[in-house]
């Protein structure tokens, strides 16, 4: 068996060996550096075969059974998804987010009773992503075709350059439809320190200040 070195050099015993393939596959995952990839691969090598099989099955199963919800484009095992088919939710209000994980984050707050639309990304020219690469056309088609009148679109993209550009582009596209488009307020995160806040965040926090209750 190959010995895994835990030094600094990447562990690649022959570019086409099964281990190298596994390390490479882990390395392609977000947030996994070469060393973590080696560690994960080594863990799999030492684990019982059943555990490896379980992981392999789960990977294949998720790719086979998870689809895009035809309405909100979120990842789901059935379409329309649980949120879209929930009659008790407010279907007049759509919250637009970048990623499926953002839906979970907003659901956790329990403060939003409407439905969602997942863009699966954000306009980011530096990364080669334009509006045509996102689920924007699907949102517009949904607004045009759906029977329920939508009264508000809440754009909940991240408060950075790409998120702002995406929000403003959506607002401009939607203007002719006469739907109210809002954007999440931008302010200081909990635990922040005024002294170190950047200028844009601080000025937005001032602009959207609220009465002390």
């Amino acid at each position: 068996m190959h010995r895994v070195n835990d030094g600094h050099a990447p562990f690649l015993p022959g570019a086409s060996s099964p281990i190298a393939r596994l390390v490479e596959a882990f390395h392609r995952l977000p947030g996994i550096g070469p060393k973590s990839a080696q560690r994960l691969a080594y863990h799999i090598l030492r684990a019982p075969e059943a555990e490896a099989q379980e992981l392999a099955d789960a990977l294949v199963e998720v790719k086979r059974s998870i689809v895009f919800c035809a309405q909100c484009q979120n990842l789901t095992s059935r379409t329309p998804c649980d949120i879209c088919s929930d009659g008790s939710r407010d279907h007049h209000s759509i919250c637009v987010v970048e990623e499926p994980l953002d839906v979970l984050a907003i659901e956790r707050t329990g403060g939003f009773g409407g439905v969602y639309h997942v863009l699966h990304g954000v306009i980011s020219p530096a990364d080669g992503v334009g509006p045509e690469d996102l689920k924007i056309g699907e949102l517009l088609a949904r607004l045009r075709d759906v029977e329920t009148e939508v009264s508000e679109i809440i754009v909940a993209t991240n408060p950075n350059l790409e998120g702002e550009a995406t929000a403003m582009y959506l607002a401009r596209l939607l203007r002719p439809l006469g739907i109210r488009v809002t954007r999440l307020a931008r302010g200081l995160p909990a635990g922040a320190d005024l002294e170190y806040a950047d200028d844009v965040t601080l000025s937005r926090a001032l602009e959207f200040r609220q009465e002390v209750q």
Partner: protein, 277 residues
Amino acid sequence: MPGRVPRVVRTPAIVLRHRRLGEADRIVTLLTPGRGKIDVIAKGVLRARSRMAGHLEPLTLVEVVLAHGRSMDVVTQAQTIDAFPAAHDDLDRLSAAMYLLELADRITVEHADAEGLHDLLHVALVRLARGDGQQVVTRTFELALLDATGFRPELTACLRCSMPVAAEAAWWAPAEGGVMCASCARAHQDAQPIDATALRVLRAFQTQTYEEAGRIRLTDELAARMEQAMHALMRAVVERDLKSAQFVSAARRARVAGEGIEAAIDAARDTAGDDEE
């Protein structure tokens, strides 16, 4: 000690872009006055309590303190000098700013002698943020950038036969870097006729001062033609598609009520069709 890299450097810089590095760090691409374009490591900026994160966003003029690192320098302090807040308030200005950043990034090689590029970009961003016309700011930046990098386009004489070309009879050859006369252009697949007024205004932008250029009135249609010609030229110079240029055009099209909606729905239908194949 002479000849040795100082361990700590303080410099102004414009943040061009960043990319994730591992769990909490980022590689930030900076355009500096003294060292041109450099990649630096910003540690811990993806953590919620990072003190530097907000200061190292693209489209920020920042003062950074860099510690000399093994492969890349490491940011130890970052303080915003100008975040160009007014450039964030309007989609046309914001998309134009993203285009300027991408151009500055793509046209420069890391550590290459980029003297003057930082100042060119800074001046253009200041002009955008104070509300100058997006067209005049962008076009004069493109032309100045091409001058500074040795790609000055030829707008008056034919690139083939060197004879002066009248604006009415000019053809646009982006891959060659300027205009051609009608007879030379015939042998050239890449050349296309260019609107005479658009070319005249580009000539004026290339030779006049910024203040004079700013006094030229541009209709939306004329601006769109100039934009198309210059985007094609810049694409040829950097030898790749400029996604931000496409976004500038998409933002302008979306201003025409309804047009953007139909285009976006068509684009979605096209990708859905690809999936089925």
